[in-house]
Assembly symmetry: C2
Homo-oligomer: 382 residues x 2
């Protein structure tokens, strides 16, 4: 017998009450029954995005929504500023380049966050840029970017703020309308707690206006067409119906707990994780601005092959965490703590880490990490 635990920043665990829905018979998507379900989902997505705008539902994973946010908005040759704080920031640059835009990339140290002053300088150097593309939370490093300040800078420069909130929306406070985020994106398998296969995007009026002059070709990912369909409680093409049936339930759970409580829960789970990791003598990668979604931990020098940490945790103990990606491969590991995640998910992750560090020859005083997490929970209730 081996129980398994999923502590990755996407997919995150699917609540049992949600996963049981996927075993139900399908509802055809062109029926009043599905449209009624869709209407509820639509309203609850606005709540999660904290917006009055329509939230479009795409059958495609997060990169589909990122692609759509470029291919539906800009004109060939447009200059855009991309903030590359990791693998996903780099993806903005790649998408912009693929569509023949001119990306001005601000590359940060891995684990670092953006200094708004640096952005201001870049904006001044490229006053004709159309938009700033960034991550609210860079999943590959566990660092958050100063979204509100980025949006302010974009707004006063007359640029669009395009925010990949894939591991941010529903994780921590990110009020789309209040902060004037022009384009906000998220994915299914993150704070929305359903399996991968859907992504979501909402546009401000300013962004919809810009979309009208877009000259980049697109067909499947057509936001204007999706918006029109949404008004009739439909999608432009066949939707991923079973995932949307599950989403109805996970959104009900989110509304029931309430965003405020969810954000506090994530914040404390993240704090407990950081405290535990530091109590074990390990170092956090994203010290300056650690994310409430995921904690990236540097592999200690005592362990030669860093990939052994996630591998041993998964293979021997059934606990799946994430390793580092690209240039961070083998150098960090990442513990996720959002979505369907509670106190004992954190303590399980840390307990397993203690066992594995010890096995790999790193000195561990058993219980020190878990103890630090428990101390955090005793201090901050949620």
């Amino acid at each position: 017998m081996k129980k398994t635990y999923l502590l990755t920043p996407g997919p995150t665990p699917v609540p049992e009450t949600v996963s049981s829905i996927f075993a139900r018979p399908l509802i055809h998507h062109r029926t009043p029954e599905f449209q009624k379900l869709f209407e509820e989902v639509k309203a609850n997505l606005k709540y999660v995005f904290q917006t009055e705008q329509d939230v479009m539902i795409l059958a495609g994973t997060g990169t589909a929504a990122m692609d759509a946010s470029v291919s539906n908005l800009f004109r060939k040759g447009d200059t855009v500023i991309t903030i590359n704080a990791g693998k996903f920031g780099e993806r903005w640059t790649q998408i912009a380049a693929a569509y023949g835009l001119n990306p001005i990339e601000m590359k940060l140290e891995r684990g670092d966050t953006l200094d708004p002053k640096d952005l201001e300088k870049t904006v001044q150097a490229h006053p004709k840029a159309t938009a700033i593309l960034f991550q609210a939370s860079e999943t590959s490093t566990g660092s958050v970017m100063p979204t509100q300040q980025i949006c302010k800078i974009a707004q006063s420069a007359g640029m669009l703020s395009v925010c990949d909130a894939i591991t941010a929306c529903g994780v921590f406070n990110l009020p789309m309308d209040a902060w004037a985020i022009d384009v906000m994106i998220t994915g299914a398998q993150k704070a929305l707690m359903i399996p991968p296969g859907l992504s979501f995007v909402a546009l401000s009026e300013k962004a919809w206006k810009l979309a009208e002059s877009c000259d980049l070709p697109h067909f499947y990912l057509d936001l204007a067409k999706e918006r029109k369909a949404l008004a009739k409680n439909q999608t432009a093409w066949t939707p991923a119906t079973s995932l949307i049936q599950g989403l109805q339930e996970s959104l009900r759970m989110i509304r029931e707990e309430g965003l405020e409580k969810i954000f506090r829960r994530h914040e404390i789970l993240a704090l407990a994780t950081r405290n535990a990791v530091e109590a074990l003598g390990l170092e956090i990668l994203a010290k300056k601005a650690p994310s409430a979604a995921v904690t990236s931990v540097k592999v200690p020098s005592t362990i030669r092959d860093g990939k052994l940490i996630p591998r041993t945790m998964r293979e021997k103990y059934g606990v799946t965490i994430a390793g580092g990606q690209d240039e961070l491969e083998g150098k960090i590991f990442r513990l996720s703590h959002f979505g369907y995640c509670e106190k004992f998910d954190v303590t399980t992750g840390i307990a397993c880490l203690e066992l594995v560090l010890n096995e790999l020859g790193h000195p561990v005083e058993f219980g020190k990490g878990v103890g630090a997490a428990l101390k955090t929970f005793a201090e901050f209730s949620f």
Copy 2:
């Protein structure tokens, strides 16, 4: 208590042994466990496509694969011949136009099939065309196109054959390699018997060669990138993991029954449906080349509002069939008979139709339609 029955040409019913898989915990997509599952799925997809080529798995519904088949292959300004026998043929024209190609559209009467001689004339008139884009089975009318002949014409003219086999692959015989189909597409919620959210595309060597000179922008739908990832039993972006977990099981069912038996089953279910409908005095729309996937039936003149037939079947009896789309709305209704579909799905559909026709004032001799279906089953075993 109301039992429900799904007799639409997508989504088709999901077998209970498959749907129960969606309630299982998720497998993370970057693990050896998922890669092993993926390897099996990859091999079985080749079996269904009857090809030695890689079958790419996209997180997106059928239109995503259609989009990818244009945006990954051609050059701006390319002339392509599109066969518009219905709503989905029209979509080829729309996609080609969206990417700045020059589509030469052959528009057929709704319900009609292509005469290869007409295609030959069009090919002669446009010898520089790069490709012929068509449907193996036009779902909106229930008519099949002569795929083998289309591919022969394409081949001898040095053009690519791009075949939307969304309601054809796994429904009737469509051997990709043997018939030299250059691009073949299908979707999840059709003969593959899983919920919508995935689509599939395979390319011949000739098509891969052409893709190298493609100059159309694309990012999320990147077939070359998917092919590279597939070699490592992965996908380019996060895959729709739960759907792929279900696909593993539905593909096992397909292999166990075997394509030959499946094709015969669909053929006889279709024949029984046509016989039943004609025994009720109704007329088939696609008389010349009726599809084994779906039977389109003309609404009899005795019934003024044709949309009442599917609506009453669904609302009063829980039997969901499809109506007509676009210009065929209210003029036809469509009974599907493929995928997880057996003799008594056909008799249930016809039985319900008999009740509803009678209620709507069309004279019915009860049992006549069902009787004709049963007679067919008695005559042709499967």
